[in-house]
């Protein structure tokens, strides 16, 4: 299982804050998780589409799309941060 979280604009547009995905070797990187989500079409394709800046974190560490994903990981997606 992979716990997937969405924050801020993404959470609102996707109308979900979190979901769990069954782990499979096909989603062994962050980019592969994104590709899987995009396949759902509609708003998923929009949010994760080309030209969108989506940041990712695995187990609460920011990472790029090549970062590995293992069974049990927490994978989060969110827009560029704007705190401070």
């Amino acid at each position: 299982m992979i716990n997937v979280l969405f924050f801020a604009r993404l959470r609102e547009e996707l109308k979900t804050a979190s979901e769990t995905l069954d782990y499979a070797p096909e989603i062994a990187t962050v980019g592969a998780v994104v590709a899987l989500l995009r396949l759902r079409g509609g708003v998923w394709q929009d949010v994760f589409g080309d030209g969108q800046t989506v940041l990712a974190a695995v187990n609460q560490e920011m990472c790029d799309m090549d970062a590995p994903v293992s069974d049990g990981d927490e994978v989060a997606f969110f827009p560029p941060v704007t705190g401070g």
């Binding site: 801020a8 974190a57 705190g83 401070g84």
Partner: protein
Amino acid sequence: MNQIKVQKEPFDMTTIQEELRLASPGIGAVVTFVGQMRDINEGDTVSTMTLEHYPGMTERALQAIVDEADERWDLMGIRVVHRVGPLQPLDPIVLVAVASAHRGEAFQACEFIIDYLKTRAPFWKKEQTPDGERWVDARHSDDQAESRWKQ
């Protein structure tokens, strides 16, 4: 020696600064940055702001930034406090305070921490304006500010 807090409640700047500066009689300089909510952004009146964050990751990200500052400079204490939840104009959003023996290091570390916080800590601002709610966009100037520290 260093403290990081993420909280809904207002923070007391005086207590934080006093506790930091009195920690050692070897401290010669304390530099404090306070970021507060403006009532205007990109030309529009902003009545309220809501700060969302990623609990857990926020604290880790702030800790990593503070640890990096501690490695780069010779410091004698760091405090970072960031509010989340609803905020009004003039409310302090974030405080970064750094103590050191000499001022140069305190200035650099304080600015480094807030620059990195702006691009690396998972906070998101949503503004309430007369035209409705909107998410605040990341600023290019914040990316530039961060990139100064990469040598």
